[in-house]
């Protein structure tokens, strides 16, 4: 392409120079005609390469580059992971609030950690750890564990922070 531009610009300047140096009279007209035709030939020279490419394009013989795009299944997987995370976090928050209400514990004195496992494509809690701190350490841990076991039918242990 650079060669083409240089050729075009050089031809234009040469044509102008020849026009300046051309002798007057009838010959000048013919010289200008020849230089114009020469310039036109240089201008249209890329067409011989462009026509086959244009024909191929019109015939549909072109391809867009393939990008490694995720398909619908991978987006569904992302959605499932996001929903899993959101629902398990929400579940933990609700369990914490339930225990706080049931045993009259302040919000900053109780935390829960729930371990999950997958059974038949559904998440089930397998173990709940109730972490007590502050004044909540004086609460009966066995009562808390019993309550959680009856509610969720899974193991529960209390820990003191």
């Amino acid at each position: 392409m650079q060669t083409y531009f240089l050729a075009l610009i050089s031809t234009a300047f040469l044509a102008a120079l020849v026009g300046l140096l051309a002798p007057g009279g009838g010959l000048a007209k013919y010289i200008k005609l020849l230089t114009s035709l020469l310039l036109l030939c240089v201008l249209l020279s890329p067409i011989q390469d462009a026509i086959p490419a244009l024909q191929a394009f019109l015939n549909g013989e072109w391809e867009l580059p393939e990008l490694d795009l995720p398909n619908e299944d991978s987006y569904k997987e992302e959605l499932n992971q996001a929903l899993e995370g959101a629902s398990t976090l929400y579940f933990t928050q609700m369990l914490t609030q339930t225990l706080q209400a049931e045993f009259s514990i302040d919000a900053e004195d109780l935390r829960c950690d729930v371990r999950w496992s997958t059974e038949n494509e559904a998440l089930r809690p397998t173990r709940v750890t109730v972490i007590l701190s502050g004044r909540a350490i004086w609460k009966d841990p066995e009562a808390i564990e019993r309550f959680v076991k009856e509610l969720l039918e899974c193991d529960c242990v209390c820990a003191i922070e």
Partner: protein, 388 residues
């Protein structure tokens, strides 16, 4: 006594481990979990890395955080009129200096050409006068090509940045759409943007420079020899290229808008029967699935809005320097053309007007190509969350 102390030692040895076993705390490492929408996806930082360094220096530091609230504060700051105006004035100030440095020698050459033209009668030879005019045109041409090549470089740099931003935004948008249940919208947006990327890389980026070169060459031919009238050919080529580009982008805009909107509607319908992994257990502990859906929907909506607006502002900040440079340079050529007209230098005036027109064409091409990416970000910010 010895028996008693021995018995005590044995008791301690037996009770010690028992006490340790019963009083030991169950310690386990707890993973820090974040609510959905609290933290931005990993792909967001990859998207920010595609921004040029000189633009990144102008951005607030909080924008590079992963925390949604901090990024939201940074986006609010960036969307203030004072911030945008301050950034724009900084950019104009820098470019204005360059344009004045270009205008001064250009005016000198035009004045010299005008003086030679005025004194041609004293040369006693028409050919000598024409030769001086030819040399003046040659000088202006060399100067125009030299300065215009810098603006062409900035246009190609902008297209490279646009391609990099689009490439980085595809996984980010996909993740944000999927997070809110808009799976079909994620597929539509990814497909549309990848098609746009393919067209930009293979068609626009490869054709814009050669086309500008052809236009410059034709303008030069016309300026050098007035008998070689290439003006109408030049105008026809520019108009048709711009029309073809506009038509192509219009098709992309229509396709992206229609597909994303329709997909969003179908996603809403599909998500009505969405089941959560722990959904059946949530009412057991006292919460409700609908409450969870509302929380997730609001969080994802905020996340998408923040990232969408952030992307639009980043695109504007990336586009502004290129636009300002092209418009100021175009203004410089137009000023010089007006001076050439005043001084009676017709050939130089036509050349300067053609180059100014070419820069106007570049401004149009840059804006047209940015519109598709802008629409995709707007659709992201306003797409209805399917879960809600």
């Amino acid at each position: 006594m010895n028996l008693r102390s021995t018995f005590q030692k044995i008791l301690l040895l037996l009770l010690g481990p028992v006490l340790l076993l019963t009083l030991s705390l169950n310690v386990s490492a707890e993973e820090e979990s974040h609510e959905i929408g609290e933290e931005l996806p990993e792909e967001y930082l990859d998207f920010l890395e595609a921004i040029p360094e000189d633009i990144a220096e102008l951005l607030p530091e909080e924008l590079f955080s992963k925390n949604t609230d901090e990024v939201g504060v940074a986006v609010q700051e960036m969307s203030r009129f004072s911030y945008l105006l301050h950034t724009l004035l900084d950019l104009i100030g820098l470019r204005l200096q360059d344009c004045l440095q270009i205008l001064a020698p250009l005016c000198g050459i035009l004045i010299l050409s005008a003086v030679c033209r005025t004194l041609k009668t004293s040369f006693g030879s028409e050919g000598l006068a024409k030769a001086f005019s030819f040399c003046a045109t040659l000088l202006i041409t060399v100067a125009l090509i030299r300065w215009s090549s810098r603006s062409l470089e900035s246009v190609t740099d902008y297209f490279s940045t646009l391609n990099a931003l689009t490439t980085a935004s595809i996984p980010l948008m996909g993740a944000l759409y999927a997070m809110g249940g808009n799976v079909a919208s994620a597929v539509a947006a990814s497909g549309g943007l990848s098609l746009f990327l393919g067209i930009m890389e293979n068609l626009v980026s490869r054709s814009i420079l050669p086309f500008c070169g052809i236009c410059m060459a034709l303008a030069l031919v016309h300026a050098v020899d007035a008998n070689l009238r290439t003006g109408s050919l030049l105008t026809t080529l520019k108009k048709n290229y711009t029309t073809a580009l506009s038509f192509l982008m219009m098709l992309l805009l229509a396709m992206l808008g229609a597909q994303t909107t329709l997909a969003a509607r179908s996603d809403t319908l599909a998500m009505r029967s969405a089941k959560f992994a722990a959904g059946t257990l949530i009412p057991v502990v006292g919460g409700s699935v609908s409450e969870l859906l509302r929380t997730v929907s609001a969080s994802v909506g905020f996340l998408r809005g923040t990232v969408g607006i952030c992307g639009i502002l980043l695109l504007l900040l990336t586009l502004l320097p290129t636009l300002v440079e092209l418009l100021l340079l175009r203004f410089t050529w137009q000023l010089a053309a007006s001076l050439a007209d005043v001084l009676g230098c017709d050939g130089e005036k036509k050349l300067l007007e053609e180059f100014a027109s070419l820069l106007g064409f570049l401004v149009a091409a840059v804006c047209i190509c940015s519109s598709v990416f802008l629409l995709s970000l707007t659709l992201l910010a306003h797409c209805t969350v399917a879960l809600g």
